[in-house]
Protein backbone atom coordinates (compact mmCIF):
# COMPACT_ATOMS: atom_id res chain seq x y z
CA UNK A 1 0.00 0.00 0.00
CA UNK A 2 1.46 3.34 -1.09
CA UNK A 3 1.27 6.09 1.54
CA UNK A 4 1.10 9.86 0.99
CA UNK A 5 1.59 12.33 3.84
CA UNK A 6 -1.36 14.49 4.86
CA UNK A 7 0.85 17.59 4.91
CA UNK A 8 1.77 17.04 1.26
CA UNK A 9 -1.90 16.75 0.29
CA UNK A 10 -2.92 19.78 2.39
CA UNK A 11 -0.19 21.96 0.91
CA UNK A 12 -1.19 21.03 -2.64
CA UNK A 13 -4.88 21.71 -1.94
CA UNK A 14 -4.08 25.12 -0.40
CA UNK A 15 -1.99 26.01 -3.47
CA UNK A 16 -4.79 24.94 -5.83
CA UNK A 17 -7.41 27.01 -4.00
CA UNK A 18 -5.28 30.14 -4.19
CA UNK A 19 -4.13 29.61 -7.75
CA UNK A 20 -7.51 28.64 -9.24
CA UNK A 21 -9.17 31.74 -7.78
CA UNK A 22 -6.64 34.11 -9.30
CA UNK A 23 -5.70 32.45 -12.61
CA UNK A 24 -8.36 31.67 -15.16
CA UNK A 25 -7.68 28.26 -16.79
CA UNK A 26 -5.98 28.64 -20.21
CA UNK A 27 -8.84 26.94 -22.07
CA UNK A 28 -11.40 29.31 -20.51
CA UNK A 29 -9.29 32.31 -21.39
CA UNK A 30 -8.87 31.12 -24.99
CA UNK A 31 -12.65 30.66 -25.22
CA UNK A 32 -13.25 34.22 -24.00
CA UNK A 33 -10.77 35.55 -26.59
CA UNK A 34 -12.47 33.57 -29.38
CA UNK A 35 -15.85 34.83 -28.14
CA UNK A 36 -14.69 38.45 -28.27
CA UNK A 37 -13.76 37.89 -31.93
CA UNK A 38 -17.03 36.11 -32.77
CA UNK A 39 -19.67 38.07 -30.79
CA UNK A 40 -21.58 40.54 -32.98
CA UNK A 41 -23.25 42.53 -30.18
CA UNK A 42 -21.16 45.54 -29.13
CA UNK A 43 -22.50 45.34 -25.55
CA UNK A 44 -21.48 41.69 -25.53
CA UNK A 45 -17.98 42.43 -26.85
CA UNK A 46 -17.53 45.03 -24.11
CA UNK A 47 -18.32 42.35 -21.51
CA UNK A 48 -15.69 40.01 -23.02
CA UNK A 49 -13.13 42.84 -22.97
CA UNK A 50 -13.88 43.47 -19.29
CA UNK A 51 -13.64 39.78 -18.42
CA UNK A 52 -10.24 39.47 -20.13
CA UNK A 53 -9.01 42.61 -18.37
CA UNK A 54 -10.35 41.22 -15.09
CA UNK A 55 -8.42 37.98 -15.64
CA UNK A 56 -5.17 39.88 -16.29
CA UNK A 57 -5.72 42.04 -13.23
CA UNK A 58 -6.53 39.09 -10.94
CA UNK A 59 -3.39 37.27 -12.05
CA UNK A 60 -1.25 40.36 -11.49
CA UNK A 61 -2.74 41.56 -8.18
CA UNK A 62 -3.77 38.15 -6.77
CA UNK A 63 -7.22 39.55 -6.04
CA UNK A 64 -9.75 36.77 -6.69
CA UNK A 65 -11.24 36.70 -10.21
CA UNK A 66 -14.65 36.87 -8.52
CA UNK A 67 -15.51 37.82 -4.94
CA UNK A 68 -17.59 34.64 -4.76
CA UNK A 69 -14.79 32.13 -4.25
CA UNK A 70 -17.46 29.50 -3.92
CA UNK A 71 -18.03 26.48 -1.84
CA UNK A 72 -14.96 24.32 -2.34
CA UNK A 73 -15.93 21.21 -4.29
CA UNK A 74 -13.48 18.34 -4.69
CA UNK A 75 -13.68 15.36 -7.00
CA UNK A 76 -11.18 12.74 -5.86
CA UNK A 77 -10.07 9.68 -7.80
CA UNK A 78 -8.33 7.50 -5.28
CA UNK A 79 -6.44 4.33 -6.11
CA UNK A 80 -7.37 1.31 -4.04
CA UNK A 81 -3.65 0.76 -3.32
CA UNK A 82 -2.92 4.21 -1.87
CA UNK A 83 -3.76 5.83 1.46
CA UNK A 84 -3.31 9.31 2.91
CA UNK A 85 -1.68 9.06 6.34
CA UNK A 86 -3.91 10.92 8.78
CA UNK A 87 -6.93 10.78 6.52
CA UNK A 88 -7.88 12.08 3.08
CA UNK A 89 -10.86 14.23 4.13
CA UNK A 90 -8.97 15.91 6.96
CA UNK A 91 -6.02 16.68 4.67
CA UNK A 92 -8.27 18.22 2.01
CA UNK A 93 -10.27 20.31 4.49
CA UNK A 94 -7.15 21.60 6.27
CA UNK A 95 -5.63 22.57 2.93
CA UNK A 96 -8.81 24.30 1.81
CA UNK A 97 -9.09 26.28 5.06
CA UNK A 98 -5.46 27.42 4.81
CA UNK A 99 -5.82 28.31 1.14
CA UNK A 100 -8.95 30.40 1.68
CA UNK A 101 -7.46 32.12 4.76
CA UNK A 102 -4.01 32.90 3.35
CA UNK A 103 -5.28 33.73 -0.15
CA UNK A 104 -7.80 36.29 1.16
CA UNK A 105 -10.55 34.26 -0.50
CA UNK A 106 -14.14 34.85 0.57
CA UNK A 107 -15.66 32.39 3.02
CA UNK A 108 -19.16 31.74 1.68
CA UNK A 109 -20.40 28.79 3.72
CA UNK A 110 -23.20 29.27 6.26
CA UNK A 111 -25.71 27.34 8.36
CA UNK A 112 -28.78 26.80 6.15
CA UNK A 113 -31.25 27.97 8.80
CA UNK A 114 -29.48 30.52 11.01
CA UNK A 115 -27.44 31.73 7.98
CA UNK A 116 -24.43 32.13 10.34
CA UNK A 117 -21.19 32.01 8.35
CA UNK A 118 -19.03 29.02 9.34
CA UNK A 119 -16.07 31.43 9.14
CA UNK A 120 -13.57 29.22 7.35
CA UNK A 121 -15.51 28.00 4.29
CA UNK A 122 -15.96 24.55 5.85
CA UNK A 123 -17.17 22.02 5.13
CA UNK A 124 -15.66 21.18 1.77
CA UNK A 125 -17.87 19.14 -0.54
CA UNK A 126 -15.83 16.00 -1.31
CA UNK A 127 -16.77 13.28 -3.80
CA UNK A 128 -14.52 10.22 -3.86
CA UNK A 129 -14.36 7.56 -6.56
CA UNK A 130 -12.21 4.50 -5.95
CA UNK A 131 -10.05 3.50 -8.91
CA UNK A 132 -7.62 0.64 -9.57
CA UNK A 133 -3.93 1.31 -8.85
CA UNK A 134 -2.04 3.55 -6.45
CA UNK A 135 -2.56 7.03 -7.88
CA UNK A 136 -4.41 9.89 -6.21
CA UNK A 137 -5.98 12.69 -8.25
CA UNK A 138 -7.73 15.64 -6.59
CA UNK A 139 -9.73 18.14 -8.66
CA UNK A 140 -10.85 21.37 -7.03
CA UNK A 141 -13.67 23.60 -8.22
CA UNK A 142 -14.69 26.99 -6.77
CA UNK A 143 -18.46 26.78 -7.23
CA UNK A 144 -20.18 30.13 -6.88
CA UNK A 145 -23.72 30.48 -5.58
CA UNK A 146 -25.18 32.58 -8.38
CA UNK A 147 -24.78 29.94 -11.07
CA UNK A 148 -25.42 27.03 -8.70
CA UNK A 149 -28.82 28.56 -7.82
CA UNK A 150 -29.82 28.39 -11.49
CA UNK A 151 -29.07 24.64 -11.69
CA UNK A 152 -31.85 22.04 -11.70
CA UNK A 153 -32.48 18.30 -11.43
CA UNK A 154 -35.55 16.62 -12.89
CA UNK A 155 -36.84 13.10 -13.39
CA UNK A 156 -38.15 12.87 -16.95
CA UNK A 157 -40.31 10.04 -18.23
CA UNK A 158 -38.36 7.75 -20.58
CA UNK A 159 -40.86 8.60 -23.35
CA UNK A 160 -39.69 12.22 -23.27
CA UNK A 161 -36.27 11.16 -24.55
CA UNK A 162 -33.85 13.49 -26.28
CA UNK A 163 -36.60 15.98 -27.20
CA UNK A 164 -37.56 16.32 -23.52
CA UNK A 165 -33.94 16.66 -22.48
CA UNK A 166 -33.28 19.38 -25.02
CA UNK A 167 -36.42 21.32 -24.09
CA UNK A 168 -35.59 21.18 -20.39
CA UNK A 169 -31.99 22.35 -20.85
CA UNK A 170 -32.86 25.21 -23.22
CA UNK A 171 -35.78 26.35 -21.04
CA UNK A 172 -33.59 26.28 -17.94
CA UNK A 173 -31.06 28.63 -19.51
CA UNK A 174 -33.88 30.87 -20.82
CA UNK A 175 -35.45 31.13 -17.39
CA UNK A 176 -32.09 31.77 -15.73
CA UNK A 177 -31.53 34.65 -18.18
CA UNK A 178 -28.92 37.11 -16.90
CA UNK A 179 -28.85 35.68 -13.35
CA UNK A 180 -25.99 33.12 -13.53
CA UNK A 181 -23.48 35.49 -15.20
CA UNK A 182 -23.69 34.32 -18.81
CA UNK A 183 -21.92 33.25 -20.92
CA UNK A 184 -22.37 30.06 -18.99
CA UNK A 185 -20.96 26.56 -19.27
CA UNK A 186 -23.41 23.69 -18.82
CA UNK A 187 -22.65 20.37 -17.17
CA UNK A 188 -25.46 18.02 -18.14
CA UNK A 189 -25.92 14.68 -16.40
CA UNK A 190 -28.20 12.21 -18.15
CA UNK A 191 -29.14 8.97 -16.43
CA UNK A 192 -28.04 7.41 -13.15
CA UNK A 193 -30.29 8.12 -10.18
CA UNK A 194 -31.73 11.20 -8.45
CA UNK A 195 -28.40 11.98 -6.75
CA UNK A 196 -26.05 10.55 -9.37
CA UNK A 197 -27.17 12.69 -12.32
CA UNK A 198 -26.08 16.01 -10.70
CA UNK A 199 -22.87 14.41 -9.41
CA UNK A 200 -21.75 13.54 -12.94
CA UNK A 201 -23.14 16.80 -14.35
CA UNK A 202 -20.88 18.78 -12.06
CA UNK A 203 -17.89 16.55 -12.70
CA UNK A 204 -18.35 17.13 -16.45
CA UNK A 205 -17.58 20.82 -15.77
CA UNK A 206 -13.97 19.78 -15.07
CA UNK A 207 -13.45 18.92 -18.75
CA UNK A 208 -11.49 21.29 -21.00
CA UNK A 209 -13.83 23.64 -22.84
CA UNK A 210 -12.26 22.84 -26.21
CA UNK A 211 -12.16 19.05 -25.86
CA UNK A 212 -14.40 16.76 -27.92
CA UNK A 213 -16.35 13.97 -26.27
CA UNK A 214 -14.77 10.64 -27.34
CA UNK A 215 -18.21 9.23 -28.17
CA UNK A 216 -19.28 10.94 -31.44
CA UNK A 217 -22.98 10.53 -30.58
CA UNK A 218 -22.53 12.41 -27.30
CA UNK A 219 -20.31 15.00 -29.01
CA UNK A 220 -23.17 15.64 -31.45
CA UNK A 221 -25.65 15.98 -28.56
CA UNK A 222 -23.36 18.54 -26.91
CA UNK A 223 -23.17 20.53 -30.15
CA UNK A 224 -26.95 20.44 -30.56
CA UNK A 225 -27.58 21.68 -27.01
CA UNK A 226 -24.96 24.43 -27.43
CA UNK A 227 -26.62 25.65 -30.64
CA UNK A 228 -30.08 25.47 -29.03
CA UNK A 229 -28.99 27.51 -26.03
CA UNK A 230 -27.09 30.09 -28.09
CA UNK A 231 -30.17 30.60 -30.29
CA UNK A 232 -31.84 32.14 -27.21
CA UNK A 233 -29.93 35.38 -27.82
CA UNK A 234 -29.52 36.13 -24.10
CA UNK A 235 -25.87 37.03 -24.67
CA UNK A 236 -23.09 38.04 -22.29
CA UNK A 237 -24.57 39.25 -18.96
CA UNK A 238 -28.04 39.02 -20.54
CA UNK A 239 -27.44 42.13 -22.66
CA UNK A 240 -28.32 40.31 -25.89
CA UNK A 241 -25.89 38.60 -28.26
CA UNK A 242 -24.72 35.44 -29.99
CA UNK A 243 -22.86 33.86 -27.10
CA UNK A 244 -24.97 32.80 -24.14
CA UNK A 245 -23.05 29.57 -23.56
CA UNK A 246 -19.35 28.76 -24.02
CA UNK A 247 -19.65 24.97 -23.93
CA UNK A 248 -21.93 22.07 -23.03
CA UNK A 249 -20.41 18.98 -21.41
CA UNK A 250 -22.55 15.87 -21.12
CA UNK A 251 -21.97 12.90 -18.83
CA UNK A 252 -24.18 9.83 -19.21
CA UNK A 253 -24.84 6.79 -17.04
CA UNK A 254 -27.27 3.90 -17.30
CA UNK A 255 -30.50 4.46 -15.39
CA UNK A 256 -33.54 2.54 -14.13
CA UNK A 257 -35.93 1.24 -16.81
CA UNK A 258 -38.61 3.52 -15.31
CA UNK A 259 -36.49 6.69 -15.21
CA UNK A 260 -34.70 9.35 -17.20
CA UNK A 261 -32.90 11.51 -14.61
CA UNK A 262 -31.56 14.81 -15.92
CA UNK A 263 -29.35 17.36 -14.17
CA UNK A 264 -28.26 20.74 -15.51
CA UNK A 265 -25.41 22.25 -13.54
CA UNK A 266 -24.94 25.85 -14.59
CA UNK A 267 -21.42 27.26 -14.33
CA UNK A 268 -20.63 30.95 -14.85
CA UNK A 269 -17.92 32.11 -17.27
CA UNK A 270 -15.45 32.28 -14.36
CA UNK A 271 -14.90 28.52 -14.43
CA UNK A 272 -12.25 28.15 -11.76
CA UNK A 273 -10.84 24.68 -11.28
CA UNK A 274 -7.50 22.90 -11.00
CA UNK A 275 -6.26 19.42 -10.38
CA UNK A 276 -3.26 17.78 -8.79
CA UNK A 277 -1.97 14.20 -9.07
CA UNK A 278 0.13 12.26 -6.61
Amino acid sequence: MREIGAAEVSAAVARMCRSANTKLPDDVRRKLEESLARETSEAGREIFRQLLENADLAFKTKLPLCQDCGLAVFYVEMGEDVRVAGGLNKAIIEGMVAGYRDGFLRKSSCDPMTRRNTGDNTPAIIHVDLTPGDKLKISYMAKGGGSENMSRVTMLAPSQGWKGIKEFVVRRVAEAGPNPCPPVILGVGIGGTFEYAPRIAKKALLRKLDDTHPDPKIAAMEAELLAGVNALGIGPMGLGGDITCLAVKIAMAPCHIASLPLAVNVQCHSARHEEVEF
Partner: protein, 181 residues
Protein backbone atom coordinates in the same frame (compact mmCIF):
# COMPACT_ATOMS: atom_id res chain seq x y z
CA UNK B 1 -27.32 55.44 -25.35
CA UNK B 2 -26.05 58.32 -23.26
CA UNK B 3 -23.18 58.33 -20.79
CA UNK B 4 -23.61 60.08 -17.45
CA UNK B 5 -21.21 60.89 -14.63
CA UNK B 6 -23.15 60.96 -11.37
CA UNK B 7 -22.20 61.62 -7.75
CA UNK B 8 -24.07 60.32 -4.70
CA UNK B 9 -26.43 61.12 -3.07
CA UNK B 10 -28.64 60.87 -6.18
CA UNK B 11 -31.59 63.22 -6.74
CA UNK B 12 -34.89 62.77 -8.59
CA UNK B 13 -33.40 64.98 -11.31
CA UNK B 14 -30.47 62.55 -11.70
CA UNK B 15 -32.85 59.58 -11.98
CA UNK B 16 -35.12 61.29 -14.52
CA UNK B 17 -32.17 61.68 -16.93
CA UNK B 18 -31.48 57.94 -17.02
CA UNK B 19 -32.83 55.45 -19.56
CA UNK B 20 -32.28 51.69 -19.79
CA UNK B 21 -29.06 51.09 -21.71
CA UNK B 22 -27.34 54.28 -20.58
CA UNK B 23 -23.80 54.05 -19.23
CA UNK B 24 -23.19 55.58 -15.79
CA UNK B 25 -19.88 56.37 -14.06
CA UNK B 26 -20.79 56.64 -10.40
CA UNK B 27 -18.70 58.42 -7.78
CA UNK B 28 -19.16 59.09 -4.08
CA UNK B 29 -20.31 57.02 -1.12
CA UNK B 30 -22.40 53.87 -1.63
CA UNK B 31 -23.41 51.09 0.78
CA UNK B 32 -22.94 47.36 0.46
CA UNK B 33 -25.70 44.99 1.50
CA UNK B 34 -26.81 41.52 0.44
CA UNK B 35 -29.05 38.73 1.74
CA UNK B 36 -28.47 38.66 5.50
CA UNK B 37 -27.95 42.43 5.78
CA UNK B 38 -31.24 43.14 4.00
CA UNK B 39 -33.08 40.87 6.40
CA UNK B 40 -31.58 42.82 9.31
CA UNK B 41 -32.29 46.21 7.73
CA UNK B 42 -35.97 45.35 7.40
CA UNK B 43 -36.01 43.99 10.97
CA UNK B 44 -34.70 47.40 12.13
CA UNK B 45 -37.50 49.15 10.23
CA UNK B 46 -40.09 46.76 11.70
CA UNK B 47 -38.80 47.61 15.17
CA UNK B 48 -39.04 51.34 14.43
CA UNK B 49 -35.26 51.76 14.69
CA UNK B 50 -33.04 53.87 12.39
CA UNK B 51 -31.06 52.29 9.55
CA UNK B 52 -27.25 52.40 9.78
CA UNK B 53 -27.26 54.89 6.86
CA UNK B 54 -29.67 57.53 5.55
CA UNK B 55 -31.62 55.84 2.73
CA UNK B 56 -32.59 59.15 1.07
CA UNK B 57 -30.69 59.49 -2.20
CA UNK B 58 -28.61 56.44 -1.30
CA UNK B 59 -27.25 53.67 -3.54
CA UNK B 60 -26.99 50.06 -2.32
CA UNK B 61 -24.50 47.70 -3.94
CA UNK B 62 -25.40 44.02 -3.69
CA UNK B 63 -21.90 42.77 -2.96
CA UNK B 64 -20.11 40.55 -0.48
CA UNK B 65 -16.46 41.40 -1.10
CA UNK B 66 -13.55 39.07 -0.53
CA UNK B 67 -11.22 40.08 2.36
CA UNK B 68 -8.92 43.04 1.73
CA UNK B 69 -5.26 42.07 1.34
CA UNK B 70 -2.57 44.38 2.74
CA UNK B 71 -2.43 47.70 0.94
CA UNK B 72 -5.93 47.48 -0.59
CA UNK B 73 -9.17 48.99 0.81
CA UNK B 74 -11.18 45.96 -0.26
CA UNK B 75 -10.82 42.61 -2.00
CA UNK B 76 -12.58 41.46 -5.14
CA UNK B 77 -15.97 43.19 -5.28
CA UNK B 78 -18.34 42.32 -8.11
CA UNK B 79 -22.15 42.19 -7.96
CA UNK B 80 -24.21 39.31 -6.63
CA UNK B 81 -27.55 38.20 -8.14
CA UNK B 82 -30.24 40.74 -7.27
CA UNK B 83 -33.51 38.77 -7.20
CA UNK B 84 -32.73 37.54 -3.68
CA UNK B 85 -33.10 41.14 -2.45
CA UNK B 86 -36.44 41.65 -4.25
CA UNK B 87 -38.37 40.75 -1.09
CA UNK B 88 -36.78 43.71 0.72
CA UNK B 89 -36.01 46.31 -1.97
CA UNK B 90 -39.46 48.00 -2.32
CA UNK B 91 -39.39 48.89 1.38
CA UNK B 92 -36.05 50.69 1.00
CA UNK B 93 -37.04 52.34 -2.29
CA UNK B 94 -40.14 53.77 -0.59
CA UNK B 95 -37.81 55.36 1.97
CA UNK B 96 -35.87 57.18 -0.72
CA UNK B 97 -33.26 54.68 -1.94
CA UNK B 98 -32.46 55.89 -5.45
CA UNK B 99 -30.55 52.97 -6.90
CA UNK B 100 -29.40 49.42 -6.37
CA UNK B 101 -26.44 47.77 -8.11
CA UNK B 102 -26.39 44.07 -8.92
CA UNK B 103 -26.83 41.59 -11.74
CA UNK B 104 -29.83 39.67 -13.00
CA UNK B 105 -33.56 40.24 -13.21
CA UNK B 106 -35.80 42.14 -10.76
CA UNK B 107 -39.41 41.23 -10.05
CA UNK B 108 -42.49 43.27 -10.87
CA UNK B 109 -42.85 44.65 -7.33
CA UNK B 110 -39.36 46.15 -7.45
CA UNK B 111 -39.94 47.62 -10.92
CA UNK B 112 -43.24 49.12 -9.73
CA UNK B 113 -41.55 50.65 -6.67
CA UNK B 114 -38.85 52.14 -8.92
CA UNK B 115 -41.50 53.75 -11.15
CA UNK B 116 -43.51 55.09 -8.21
CA UNK B 117 -40.60 56.48 -6.21
CA UNK B 118 -38.16 57.44 -9.01
CA UNK B 119 -35.37 54.91 -8.63
CA UNK B 120 -33.22 52.85 -11.00
CA UNK B 121 -31.49 49.47 -11.08
CA UNK B 122 -27.89 49.41 -12.27
CA UNK B 123 -26.04 46.36 -13.57
CA UNK B 124 -22.34 45.86 -12.97
CA UNK B 125 -20.38 43.12 -14.75
CA UNK B 126 -20.67 39.85 -12.85
CA UNK B 127 -17.39 37.99 -12.48
CA UNK B 128 -15.29 41.14 -12.90
CA UNK B 129 -14.64 41.51 -9.17
CA UNK B 130 -10.95 42.36 -9.46
CA UNK B 131 -11.61 45.01 -12.10
CA UNK B 132 -14.43 46.61 -10.12
CA UNK B 133 -12.35 46.55 -6.93
CA UNK B 134 -9.98 49.05 -8.56
CA UNK B 135 -12.77 51.66 -8.63
CA UNK B 136 -13.34 51.41 -4.87
CA UNK B 137 -11.06 53.80 -3.01
CA UNK B 138 -12.22 53.30 0.59
CA UNK B 139 -14.33 50.86 2.58
CA UNK B 140 -15.32 50.43 6.21
CA UNK B 141 -17.90 48.27 7.97
CA UNK B 142 -20.70 50.40 9.48
CA UNK B 143 -23.14 47.68 10.63
CA UNK B 144 -23.59 43.96 11.27
CA UNK B 145 -19.86 43.15 11.45
CA UNK B 146 -20.80 39.63 12.62
CA UNK B 147 -22.07 38.88 9.11
CA UNK B 148 -18.50 38.84 7.76
CA UNK B 149 -18.67 39.23 3.97
CA UNK B 150 -22.35 40.18 4.31
CA UNK B 151 -21.75 43.15 6.67
CA UNK B 152 -22.92 46.61 5.60
CA UNK B 153 -19.99 48.66 4.34
CA UNK B 154 -19.70 52.31 3.48
CA UNK B 155 -17.63 52.37 0.32
CA UNK B 156 -16.24 55.27 -1.68
CA UNK B 157 -16.23 54.69 -5.43
CA UNK B 158 -14.74 56.66 -8.30
CA UNK B 159 -16.16 56.34 -11.83
CA UNK B 160 -17.71 52.99 -10.96
CA UNK B 161 -18.82 51.50 -14.33
CA UNK B 162 -22.54 50.72 -14.54
CA UNK B 163 -25.32 50.13 -17.05
CA UNK B 164 -28.91 51.23 -16.42
CA UNK B 165 -30.85 47.94 -16.53
CA UNK B 166 -34.24 49.24 -15.30
CA UNK B 167 -35.08 52.94 -15.48
CA UNK B 168 -37.80 54.80 -13.58
CA UNK B 169 -40.12 54.77 -16.62
CA UNK B 170 -40.55 51.01 -17.12
CA UNK B 171 -37.63 50.62 -19.55
CA UNK B 172 -35.50 47.44 -19.33
CA UNK B 173 -32.22 46.54 -20.99
CA UNK B 174 -32.15 42.75 -20.58
CA UNK B 175 -32.76 40.69 -23.71
CA UNK B 176 -35.91 38.56 -23.90
CA UNK B 177 -34.93 34.95 -24.73
CA UNK B 178 -36.08 33.67 -28.16
CA UNK B 179 -37.85 30.60 -26.83
CA UNK B 180 -39.39 28.27 -29.41
CA UNK B 181 -43.15 27.82 -28.80
Amino acid sequence: MATHSLTTPLTDADIEKLRAGDVVRLSGVIYSGRDAAHKKLVELLDAGKPLPFDPRGAVIYYVGPSPAPAGRPIGSAGPTTSYRMDAYAPRLIALGLKASIGKGKRNDEVKKAMREHKAVYFGATGGAGALLSMRITASRVIAFEELGPEAVREMTVRDFPLLVINDAFGGELYATPNLPD
